[in-house]
C-alpha cells in the first residue's frame, strides 16, 4: 500500500492545527478555560461530593455524635474507631447519656462511600468537600476527633 504524503499526512495535520487556531481566536467569546490555576483558583464542587468527614454540632454547641459506633459497624473498610464514655452533669459533650471520647478515622483506608453518614442516627458524621488529604506520614492519616469536629458556633 502506498502512502500519499500530502493527502494522508500533511493534510490531517494542518486540519488539526486548524482547530487549534480557531479556538485560540475564539478563546474568550465561545470557549471557556477548562483548567484552573489550582491552588490559587478552585472549582465549585458538586453538591453531593464526598470527601473528608466532619463531626457536627448542634446550634447549642453540643456534639451531635453520641458515640454509638454505628458508623464503625457500617464502614466496609473498618476504618472508624469509636470509644464512648458517659456524660456527667458537670461535663456534658452530647445530649444523651453517651458521647465519644475517641473518634478516629483512618483516611488511607476510607473509600469515601458515605455509609457512615447513612448509618448515623443523629446526622453527626457528614462527608464534606475538603479533598486535600495528602500528607507525608502514614500516621498523619489518622484523623482524630479533634481534627474532625466542627468548631464551636460563635
Amino acid at each position: 500500500m502506498s502512502v500519499n504524503l500530502f493527502k494522508d499526512v500533511a493534510k490531517p495535520i494542518m486540519a488539526g492545527f486548524g482547530i487549534t487556531r480557531r479556538r485560540l481566536q475564539q478563546r474568550t467569546s465561545k470557549y471557556k478555560d477548562v483548567t484552573v490555576q489550582y491552588p490559587e483558583q478552585r472549582r465549585e464542587q458538586y453538591p453531593r461530593t464526598r470527601w473528608k468527614h466532619a463531626l457536627k454540632r448542634y446550634d447549642s454547641g453540643l456534639e451531635k455524635c453520641i458515640g454509638c459506633s454505628l458508623c464503625a459497624g457500617a464502614c466496609p473498610a473498618r476504618c472508624i474507631y469509636v470509644e464512648a464514655a458517659e456524660n456527667t452533669d458537670g461535663e456534658r459533650y452530647s445530649a444523651g447519656e453517651r458521647y465519644a471520647v475517641r473518634y478516629e478515622i483512618n483516611m488511607i483506608r476510607c473509600i469515601f462511600c458515605g455509609y457512615c453518614q447513612d448509618a448515623c442516627p443523629t446526622g453527626a458524621i457528614v462527608l464534606e468537600k475538603d479533598f486535600e488529604l495528602a500528607n507525608y506520614k502514614r500516621e498523619s492519616f489518622i484523623y482524630t476527633k479533634e481534627m474532625l469536629l466542627d468548631p464551636m458556633p460563635k
Partner: protein
C-alpha cells in the same frame, strides 16, 4: 420435668402439618425446636419455669374434630406454657400469627424508649431482633412515652434502665429459682410494674451478673462494661474463668487488646450457662496499669529494666547450688504445663524437691494421702452429680463463696428434685436457706462434730465399722458432741439420717481449721461406711492441677511453711515465686515478710505487681492465664484448655517457656515447642492425663479419674 419416670409417654402432635412424637407435657416452645423451627420469645427461659408474661410466643392450636378436620381454637395460645397433648395441631406460621406477633411487639414498644444507639444491648438485643423479624416496621404511636429513671445503679455491678424493661420477669425468677437470694421482685402493676430490690437497697447477690445476660432487653446492663464497646466492635473467644476452681466456661470479649467483658458460655457439665459475680467481674486485672511487662534485675536498691538472657544467667548462678538450698512456691492460676515444667526443672536441673503449691495452715504430708491410707480419692463426684444426689452434706464450707457454681448445682438439685441438704458450718452460709438441717458448730470443733456424726451413724446401725474404730468412737456420745460443738442432740439425730449415704462436700478450706486431717478422714470414713461419697475440693483455679502435676514436696522436699522458715534460717538461699503473692496467700504475714527479707536471692515471676515485688532480686513478667495457651484442671478434675486470647504484655512469657528455656541453658535437650508438647510429656509421666491430649480437649473438657 422429673426425669425419674423411666418410660416417657409420647404423644402425637403436628406442627405446621408435620407430624411428630414428643414426650407428653413437653412445652410447645421446646417441641418446635425439634423441627428446627423457632418461636420468638422473651420471658421463657429453658432453665426456669415458664410464666407466660410477654405473649411473644403465640401459636395457633387446634384439635381434630369428629370429622377428622382440624378445628382451631378461637384464640392463639402462649407456646411457652402449652404442654403437648395427644392430637394437638400447632401452627406457627399463619397469617393470624404474623398479625398477632406484630400486635404484641407494637404493645411492647409503646413504652419502649428505643434508644438503641446508646443502649448497651443494641446489636445483641432480642427485642431488636424480634422486632426486625416479626414486628411492624413503623410506629403508629405518637403520644408521650412512659418516663422512668435511666441508668439507676442497682448494685456495684448492675445498672437498671426502667424505661427499657419489658416486664418479662426473667430477672425476678432468676433470683427466686436459680440463685435463691430472692433479691428482686416486681413493684406496682400494669405499665408501672418494675423489677426492684426491697426498698431499693443494693442488689446483693453472688450471682447478679447473670441477670444482665438473661434480660432480653437493655434494662439490666453491666456497670463495668457500660459504654465500653458495641457488640460489633468485639472479638469474642472461648475461655475458662480462672478466678476459682469451678472452671466455668466463659466468652472472653476483647477489643483492641483489652479485656472488655466476660459472659457465661454453656457447658452443661460445669456452669450450665451461669457465672458467679466473682468470676464475671473478676477479669479486670487484665487491663490493670500495674501489670508487670518487663524483666527487671536488682542493681543495688533499685530494680532496673533488663532482658531475659541476663535474668537467666542471674538465676542460673543463684540456683546453681541446688538441692535443699533452692525452692519454689506456686500460685493458684498457673496452667498444668507451667507447673509440670517447673517440677521438671527443679527435679532434673536443680536436683531439688522443694516446691509446693499449697498455702493452708495445715499441709497434708505424703502419709496423709487418703488414697494410700483408706483407698479413696479426695474427689469422687462431679458437679453435675449433685443434681440427682438425694442427700448432700456440706461440711465446713460457705459453698456460695468458695465454689459458687457447685452451690448453684446443689441448689438446683434441691429446687427441682427435692434433694435433702445438710449444712454444717461455724458461720451462717447461703445454703442454710434451703438446708433440711443446719448444724451450727463452734469454730474449732469440726473434727468432734464429724466424729460425733460417725459415732451416731454406727450407733444407729447406719454405718458398719471395725471394732477398733467403734472403740475409738465410743467417747463421742451425742451428749458429749453436743456439749463440745453447740449443736443440739436432736439436730444431730435428725442430721445423721440425712448424712448417712450423702454426697459429702468440703473444701481445702478445711485445712485451715484445727485437726483437719482427722476431720477429713472421719468424713471420708463416714462416706465409705454408709455408701456415700466424699469430696474435698480444691479452691484455687488450678490447685487441683498442681496436686495432679505433683507440685507437692512428697519426694522428700520441704513444704510451704518449712521453705519460708528455711529462708529465714538461711538454709534456703534462693526462692522462686511463680505467679503467687505469699502475703495474700499465706496465713502468717510476718513469717512471709521475714522470709522474703532474708532470702539471698528471690525470683518473683508475676503478671502484676504484688507484695513480693519490692523484695525481688529478679522480676520476671509472666503472661496472665488468657494470654497463653494452656490447660487447667478444675475441682472435679476436669481438664479444660484455654487457648490464647490476648497478646502477651511487653516481654512477658508463659511460665512453661521460661522453665524450658532455662532448663536447656543448664543442660541441652529437645525442649517442648508448645503447650501441646508439654501435655504429651505430662501424659507420659502421669498416665491419668493421657486422655487430656490437646486433640481431645474441645467441648466439655476431659474428666480425669
Amino acid at each position: 420435668m422429673a426425669a425419674v419416670a423411666s418410660e416417657v409417654e409420647l404423644v402425637n402432635i403436628s406442627i405446621n402439618g408435620v407430624a411428630l412424637q414428643v414426650p407428653k407435657g413437653e412445652l410447645i416452645v421446646e417441641s418446635v425446636k425439634r423441627l428446627g423451627l423457632e418461636i420468638p420469645i422473651f420471658c421463657y427461659h429453658p432453665r426456669m419455669k415458664p410464666v407466660g408474661m410477654c405473649r411473644m410466643c403465640l401459636v395457633e392450636v387446634g384439635f381434630p374434630g369428629p370429622d377428622g378436620n382440624i378445628r382451631k381454637m378461637p384464640k392463639p395460645q402462649a407456646g411457652c406454657t402449652l404442654p403437648a397433648s395427644e392430637g394437638m395441631a400447632i401452627f406457627t406460621d399463619t397469617e393470624q400469627i404474623h398479625r398477632d406477633r406484630k400486635g404484641v411487639l407494637e404493645f411492647l414498644l409503646v413504652n419502649h424508649p428505643l434508644d438503641c444507639p446508646i443502649c448497651d444491648r443494641g446489636g445483641e438485643c432480642p427485642l431488636q431482633n424480634n422486632t426486625l423479624f416479626y414486628g411492624p416496621s413503623t410506629s403508629r404511636f405518637l403520644e408521650l412515652k412512659r418516663h422512668l429513671p435511666k441508668a439507676f445503679p442497682l448494685s456495684k455491678y448492675v445498672t437498671l434502665d426502667l424505661e427499657r424493661c419489658i416486664q418479662c420477669g426473667r430477672c425476678v425468677r432468676f433470683t427466686e429459682e436459680i440463685s435463691g437470694d430472692s433479691q428482686l421482685a416486681f413493684r406496682f402493676r400494669g405499665a408501672s410494674m418494675q423489677p426492684s430490690t426491697f426498698e431499693l437497697t443494693d442488689f446483693e447477690s453472688k450471682f447478679s451478673g447473670n441477670v444482665i445476660e438473661i434480660c432480653p432487653v437493655g434494662a439490666l446492663t453491666n456497670r463495668e462494661y457500660r459504654f465500653r464497646a458495641r457488640p460489633w466492635d468485639l472479638e469474642t473467644k472461648p475461655a475458662i474463668c480462672t478466678v476459682c476452681s469451678n472452671g466455668c466456661n466463659i466468652w472472653f470479649d476483647h477489643r483492641a487488646g483489652r479485656m472488655v467483658r466476660t459472659n457465661g458460655r454453656t457447658n452443661e457439665a460445669i456452669n450450665e450457662e451461669w457465672t458467679c459475680d466473682r468470676g464475671k467481674f473478676g477479669h479486670e486485672f487484665y487491663n490493670d496499669s500495674n501489670r508487670v511487662k518487663h524483666v527487671m534485675v536488682r542493681n543495688g536498691d533499685a530494680l532496673v529494666e533488663s532482658d531475659w538472657p541476663t535474668a537467666y544467667d542471674a538465676i542460673r548462678m543463684a540456683f546453681a547450688e541446688g538441692g535443699n538450698r533452692v525452692a519454689a512456691l506456686t500460685g493458684p492460676s498457673n496452667s498444668n504445663e507451667d507447673l509440670y515444667l517447673l517440677k521438671k526443672l527443679f527435679q532434673t536441673r536443680f536436683n531439688s524437691n522443694n516446691f509446693d503449691s499449697r498455702w493452708t495452715t495445715y499441709l497434708p504430708t505424703a502419709e496423709d494421702d487418703l488414697q494410700k491410707k483408706m483407698g479413696v480419692s479426695m474427689v469422687q463426684n462431679t458437679i453435675a452429680d449433685f443434681e440427682s444426689m438425694s442427700k448432700v452434706f456440706i461440711f465446713g464450707s460457705s459453698l456460695a463463696d468458695e465454689l459458687p457454681i457447685l452451690f448453684l448445682r446443689v441448689r438446683k438439685g434441691w429446687f427441682n428434685n427435692g434433694n435433702k441438704v445438710v449444712v454444717a458450718s461455724d458461720k451462717p452460709t447461703d445454703a442454710d436457706s434451703f438446708a433440711a438441717e443446719v448444724l451450727r458448730y463452734r469454730t474449732g470443733t469440726e473434727s468432734t462434730l464429724a466424729s460425733g456424726l460417725l459415732a451416731l451413724a454406727v450407733e444407729k446401725g447406719l454405718a458398719q465399722v471395725p471394732d477398733a474404730t467403734r472403740q475409738s468412737l465410743s467417747k463421742y456420745t451425742a451428749e458429749h458432741v453436743s456439749d463440745e460443738t453447740g449443736v443440739s442432740v436432736d439436730a444431730l439425730h435428725r442430721a445423721v439420717e440425712l448424712v448417712a449415704g450423702a454426697g459429702i462436700i468440703t473444701s481445702h478450706g478445711i485445712f485451715n481449721t484445727s485437726q483437719p486431717q482427722d476431720t477429713v478422714e472421719t468424713l471420708a470414713g463416714l462416706a465409705m461406711t454408709t455408701n456415700g461419697s466424699f469430696n474435698c475440693y480444691a479452691l484455687g483455679a488450678n490447685d487441683q492441677g498442681a496436686l495432679d502435676m505433683g507440685v507437692v514436696p512428697f519426694g522428700g522436699g520441704m513444704d510451704t511453711h518449712s521453705i519460708l522458715q528455711g529462708c529465714i534460717d538461711g538454709t534456703v538461699k534462693a526462692l522462686w515465686l511463680v505467679g503467687c503473692d505469699p502475703f495474700e496467700l499465706h496465713p502468717d504475714y510476718d513469717l512471709v515478710e521475714k522470709a522474703l527479707e532474708n532470702v539471698h536471692f528471690l525470683v518473683v515471676m508475676a503478671d502484676h505487681q504484688n507484695g513480693a515485688v519490692p523484695f525481688a532480686s529478679v522480676l520476671l513478667p509472666e503472661t496472665a492465664p488468657a494470654e497463653q495457651d494452656g490447660t487447667f484442671t478444675n475441682m472435679e478434675r476436669r481438664v479444660q484448655r484455654m487457648p490464647q486470647v490476648l497478646a502477651a504484655k511487653g516481654s512477658a512469657k508463659p511460665a512453661w517457656r521460661v522453665f524450658s528455656e532455662l532448663a536447656i541453658r543448664i543442660q541441652p535437650e529437645t525442649p517442648p515447642f508448645g503447650p501441646a508438647d508439654c501435655m504429651k510429656e505430662i501424659a507420659e509421666s502421669i498416665p491419668s492425663y493421657a486422655v487430656a491430649d490437646y486433640a481431645n480437649l474441645g467441648g466439655e473438657g476431659v474428666l480425669i479419674r
